[in-house]
């Protein structure tokens, strides 16, 4: 069962997942920018395949929503990921 997720929470989830998956490239400067509302391009985070897996695992653990590593290149930015998480939560709520 996926949990209801709102935009601010989606941002928190992505923030924590990036801290786990990209500890080096998601540095203090990018963290501050992200918290200030900037959307980050995933390409600039230089995540390898392991980092992408860890990111998706962290998101699923936090929300129950399955986001796959293969979908990340299509989503491309943190804003797009947050939208995807919110949409997934809404559609699931509608199905309940």
């Amino acid at each position: 069962m996926e949990r209801a997720i709102r935009a601010p929470r989606a941002r928190d989830v992505v923030f924590e997942a990036l801290k786990t998956a990209a500890p080096q490239t998601f540095d203090d400067e990018l963290r501050r920018a992200f918290l200030a509302g900037t959307s980050l391009k995933l390409a600039e985070l230089d995540m390898d395949s392991l980092a992408k897996m860890e990111f998706c695992i962290a998101v699923e653990l936090a929300t129950g929503i399955t986001l796959l590593p293969s979908q990340l290149s299509e989503l491309a930015s943190t804003d797009a990921i947050e939208r995807r998480l919110c949409e997934a939560a809404v559609s699931l709520k509608a199905e309940e």
Partner: protein
């Protein structure tokens, strides 16, 4: 996601008596565990954990057994991919076996050779609890009659400042406790090797334990380390004092980094004057991952041989300056 929430020690705990029984038991438990997974992320979680713990022998056993699964089987595809990352695929008369010292430390050793003939490698894993490549890929490069490896894992993700789970609550206590499990002095040689977040801890451990050599690969500089410790409420003072100490014998320290990676190059060059050490720039490498680059290039065995050999290869022995930089092939 409880299906993925398991500790690999549980999967590999050696209840079975013989090596073949243990391999079969591990495979059975793997199949049971993976059978509970409902999503790709759950399977990935199990597989990542296993890649951090397995031995080359286990990889070969799993690969042979899972090769008969359907072609679309995630397990078959996973182990085929992992097996492809074994640099030598060499079957050896004596193979590494895993012995859990504690949760945060795993000993890989073989029933062959004595410590007097072997080099002990204290491997400080990075953020993902390995040397940036699957653990069996590293072990596959090493002759088990010549090396014992203890892989140390930083589960608190605090550069080992909050210790090693099962050994101690801070770096110094953990290293002292480790000495009660294994005596580096009983070995022919002892080397600390760390990558990324484990790089500087490996340098510090080499000084603390007066090992023959300490190797940081893609490690950080001290001020960054100290700043993070401060944020976690840990005093950097004892680490600063250790780094400034010059015990005799003093280890040979190597600071290895990708030349094309600005952050790592800057960190290594900045750490170099703080402690007697040698800079080793890896060319034809742009990212943070020196080991993954060497693995892709098919050069991981020779690279590890140079880092861990009885005498540093001439190209490693050269102190690299901005004027004359050695290339490490």
């Amino acid at each position: 996601m409880s299906a993925g929430a398991m500790h690999p020690h549980a999967l590999f705990r050696p209840h079975a008596s013989s090596a073949s029984q243990r391999l079969e038991q591990a495979l059975r438990l793997y199949r049971k565990r993976i059978g509970r997974c409902r999503t790709e992320n759950q399977r990935n979680r199990v597989h990542i954990a296993l890649e951090n713990y397995m031995t080359p022998l286990e990889v070969r056993h799993f690969a042979a057994a899972l090769a008969t699964d359907p072609p679309e089987s995630p397990s078959r595809n996973w182990i085929a991919g992992l097996n492809a990352l074994m640099p030598t695929k060499r079957v050896r008369p004596a193979e590494f076996e895993r012995r859990g010292v504690v949760n945060g430390a795993t000993l890989y050793t073989a029933e062959a050779g004595s410590p007097k003939e072997k080099t002990l490698v204290l491997a400080f894993g990075g953020h993902f609890h390995r040397l940036m490549v699957p653990t069996p890929s590293v072990l596959d490069c090493l002759d088990p009659t010549l090396f014992d490896v203890i892989l140390l894992r930083d589960f608190s993700r605090t550069f080992f400042a909050k210790g090693i789970f099962g050994l101690g609550d801070d770096f110094f206590a953990a290293i002292a406790a480790l000495r009660r499990h294994v005596d580096p002095g009983s070995y022919r040689s002892s080397i600390a090797l760390g990558s990324s977040a484990g790089g500087l801890p490996a340098v510090l451990a080499a000084i603390l334990l007066r090992l023959k050599r300490g190797v940081s690969v893609g490690g950080m500089d001290f001020p960054y380390f100290a700043g993070k410790l401060d944020g976690w409420g840990v005093s950097a003072q004892p680490y600063a004092e250790l780094l400034a100490s010059r015990p005799i014998p003093f280890p040979e320290l190597l600071l290895v980094y990708c030349g094309g990676h600005e952050i790592d190059a800057g960190a290594a060059v900045a750490l170099h004057p703080r402690v007697p050490s040698r800079l080793v720039e890896i060319r034809n490498c742009k990212g943070h991952g020196v080991f993954p680059t060497k693995l892709r290039q098919g050069r991981l065995p020779s690279f590890l041989s140079k880092l861990l050999g009885p005498q540093p290869a001439p190209e490693l022995a050269a102190t690299i300056s901005h004027v004359a930089q050695e290339q490490l092939g």
